[in-house]
């Protein structure tokens, strides 16, 4: 039974329920207390020890039902013409070599099921990874169960003179087809349990590495998945850093103050004073390019902008293509999708004009920058040969604590065509390529760690 539990844990892990060895041990101990007899009790006990959040409980329920679903195998009733019930003695003699055939003939579903489980363990059905392995594994499962024996018996029976063996052969043949269906269903179920998640994982892995501004952008088929991925990453970052910011502000004993206060009590330190940490209030100004040249990446950059907005207390978000606007209100008042749509509707996909946009920023928002501000640019630095206004960039650089530029294009493109990235890069503390979701997450992570003091 321990083996079955282990398999169950594997199935749960495949369904994204995280189970550590410690939890597995707990679950085994829980099962020792409850026993296997009472199904609801068994299930609830496992659920309490294994699933650690409301979502995990839902997934646990689904996996439990699939995993422990052992519908009785449906054995064909004997075909018409043959008497119901006990098979004749000759039939039993003819099939003496194959316990499986006998079980099928006597209608012993339990025996067939048991033999299927054992065969499955030998054939390694639970190791299934891909849909394409299904037919091969079904075949192996049947072989392990002893299908060849049955086929041989059928062949022998058909060769018997005067059609004596015809009845037996027909019945076994029907049973064989039936077994095949059952085995297929069994393998399919195992696939659902262990491999359904892994295909998704493969796709996600590929998408994380896909270039954000690849030609033609992201495949519409993948779009939903990718948006979900971005959100997942954003949530991960948010969880990580919102927790950090809560770190307790505990002080040390302030000896000087304590002594001074004790003067009133003949030098006896009745009142103890603690050092209080001054809290540095960092802020972030994020400026995001949503123009045509970064069209494919813009959505994801904006999603990240949105998540940053949730993580950082004091953040000002701006978006630009031809002109620059503040998008704080839009991000605050709308959900992720709504906010992105609104930003794109207002100023998305126009001709980029970096100079003009920087000018807008300098005119209206330059007072937002001080020595505690980190400025993050998200954009490709392609300004359609307009004046890049490096003077404003220098001003921003001088005022802010740090300027970080994340560019979806690789560094080798930075000086080519209308790109002025190499010139802007001089005024950035960090200028990095950030072409895939994976890089984006890593860089933002770095930024938050080094530029958001806690």
């Amino acid at each position: 039974m321990q083996h079955t539990l282990e398999q169950f844990f594997r199935a749960l892990r495949a369904a994204d329920v995280r189970i550590s060895p410690a939890e597995a041990i707990d679950a085994s101990r829980a099962v020792m207390v409850t026993g296997y007899g009472d199904r609801p009790l068994f299930k609830d006990a496992l659920c309490a020890t294994l699933a650690k959040s409301a979502e995990e409980v839902t997934r646990f329920d689904a996996v439990f039902e699939t995993f422990f679903a052992r519908d009785a195998i449906n054995l064909n009733p004997p075909p018409e013409g043959s008497p119901q019930g006990e098979p004749s003695q000759e039939d039993l003699d003819a099939t003496a070599g194959s316990p499986l055939a006998q079980a099928v003939l006597t209608g012993d579903a339990t025996a067939v099921q048991q033999s299927m489980e054992e065969a499955a363990a030998r054939a390694g059905v639970a190791d299934i990874r891909l849909t394409t392995q299904r037919s091969r594994l079904t075949r192996r499962l049947l072989e392990e169960m002893g299908l060849e024996e049955i086929e041989r018996i059928i062949a022998n029976a058909r060769r018997m003179p005067d059609g004596q063996g015809e009845g037996l052969a027909n019945r076994l043949d029907a049973a064989r087809r039936n077994l095949f269906t059952e085995a297929q269903a069994y393998v399919a179920r195992q696939h659902d349990l262990y491999a359904a998640g892994s295909a998704q994982e493969l796709r996600e892995e590929r998408l994380v590495r896909k270039a954000l501004n690849a030609d033609g952008g992201v495949d519409p088929v993948d779009y939903q998945l990718m948006a979900a991925l971005v959100k997942k990453m954003a949530k991960r970052l948010a969880a990580k850093y919102s927790r950090r910011r809560r770190a307790a502000r505990k002080g040390h004993l302030d000896v000087r103050k304590t002594l001074r206060k004790s003067m009133a009590h003949e030098g006896i330190p009745f009142e103890i004073a603690w050092k209080v940490k001054k809290i540095d209030k960092p802020s972030i100004v994020a400026i995001c390019d949503v123009s045509k040249s970064v069209a494919a990446a813009a959505q994801f950059l904006l999603t990240f902008l949105y998540s940053l907005n949730e993580v950082v207390d004091r953040m000002d978000a701006f978006a630009f293509s031809g002109r620059l606007i503040s998008v704080n209100d839009i991000l605050d008042d709308n959900g992720v999708e709504g906010a992105i749509l609104k930003v794109l509707q207002q100023i998305g996909f126009q001709q980029t004009d970096y100079g003009r946009s920087l000018q807008d920023f300098a005119d209206n928002h330059l007072d937002r920058l001080d020595r505690r501000t980190t400025v993050i640019f998200l954009g490709d630095g392609r300004s359609n040969f307009a004046d890049p206004r490096l003077d404003i960039m220098r001003q921003i650089h001088d005022r802010a604590r740090a300027v970080i530029w994340l560019n979806p294009e690789p560094e080798s493109y930075w000086a080519q065509g209308d790109s002025v990235m190499h010139r802007y890069a001089r005024f950035c503390h960090v200028a990095k390529q950030c072409g895939t979701l994976e890089q984006l997450e890593r860089i933002i992570d770095d930024v938050l760690r080094s530029y958001v003091p806690h």
């Binding site: 309490a48 959040s53 995990e56 927790r243 809560r246 307790a248 505990k250 006896i268």
Partner: protein, 315 residues
């Protein structure tokens, strides 16, 4: 609400899940099977139990009822941002220590007067050194109190998600080994491990390390039948017909898109209010007048008010 006059010994209630359900209902807590199983596992595996669910579904109440059922003292620790060791575990009584030092200052002189030289005086002083860091100067806080209950107790760590991350890490030692380390005194181990409940409202995600050490129990909003039983137990004197009606109404409220859908405690409060008003059936006017008992936000009340008649007729 009213516990039976003679309580059977605690061990009986813990013999099986069914006995536990029955026992809990005898102290006024109607538990679903999943809740009882989780509790049963917690007792048998000696693991803390982390209870999650929206506000007012009976998380805290579960701990109170369990303590009541098992006849154990309940020690409660309310968590909040900034809670730290000195408030949760122990603190030295600084004032008392200072006062005693002052009082003993004069005695010190005479005690050391006959010491032949400085070294001898120092040796004698070392002997007295730990005087001020001993049990009489220790102020135990909830966690230490719970560990020092020799006959066991129920420890309720309420709203653990409101505490800081650092405090959560600090809880790990207590929860997994039922012990705490006090630098001046050594390790204090519980003779009988307390039965620990942690409750969480999901203000923030708890760390994996903490989750891993606990059994997890999520209490959802109850189904109609269960909720009717809860109301009947909690509010004696409410009529069956009224119970049915008001539960059905609350259940239909939960299907609406409200900022804070009413949970069990609101249903119970409402039932109490209706009993006070001597109502025997729900009329639209009565519902409108008492809507503020079940809905806690002005927008929700405004949204529901025009629909009251329709909701009452829906079932």
């Amino acid at each position: 609400m009213t516990p039976p006059a003679v309580k059977p010994p605690a061990a009986d209630h813990l013999s099986s899940v069914d006995a536990l359900i029955e026992g809990l209902s005898s102290v006024g807590y109607i538990a679903s099977r999943r809740i009882a199983t989780a509790l049963y596992m917690a007792v048998n595996l000696q693991k803390p139990i982390l209870v999650e669910g929206s506000a007012g579904v009976g998380k805290t109440e579960l701990a109170l009822s369990t303590a009541n059922l098992l006849g154990l003292p309940l020690i409660r620790m309310q968590c909040y941002e900034g809670l730290d060791e000195s408030k949760a575990l122990y603190e030295w009584k600084y004032g008392k220590q200072l006062l005693y030092t002052q009082i003993l200052k004069d005695r010190m002189g005479s005690a050391l007067a006959d010491a032949p030289d400085m070294d001898a005086a120092m040796v004698r002083l070392h002997g007295m050194g730990d005087l001020f860091f001993s049990e009489p100067f220790l102020e135990p806080r909830p966690l230490m109190q719970a560990l020092r209950q020799d006959d066991g107790c129920v420890l309720l760590i309420d709203e653990v998600d409101k505490s800081d991350e650092a405090f959560e890490a600090f809880l790990l030692e207590v929860l997994s080994a039922y012990q705490v380390s006090v630098p001046e005194l050594g390790v204090i181990v519980a003779k009988t491990p307390p039965l620990v409940f942690l409750t969480s409202n999901n203000v923030r995600d708890l760390g994996d390390a903490l989750k891993r050490r606990c059994l997890h129990l999520h209490i959802p909003l109850p189904e109609a039948a269960l909720e009717e039983r809860i109301v009947a137990t909690r509010v004696p004197g409410v009529e069956a017909k009224l119970t049915k009606d008001l539960v059905a109404f609350v259940q239909s409220l939960r299907t609406l898109d409200l900022r804070k859908p009413p949970s069990i405690s609101e249903t119970v409060d409402w039932a109490r209010a209706l009993v006070l008003l001597h109502a025997d059936s729900l009329s639209p006017d009565l519902v409108r007048d008492t809507l503020n008992v079940i809905l806690k936000f002005e927008q929700d009340i405004v949204a529901v008010e025009p629909q009251v008649v329709e909701l009452l007729h829906r079932r």
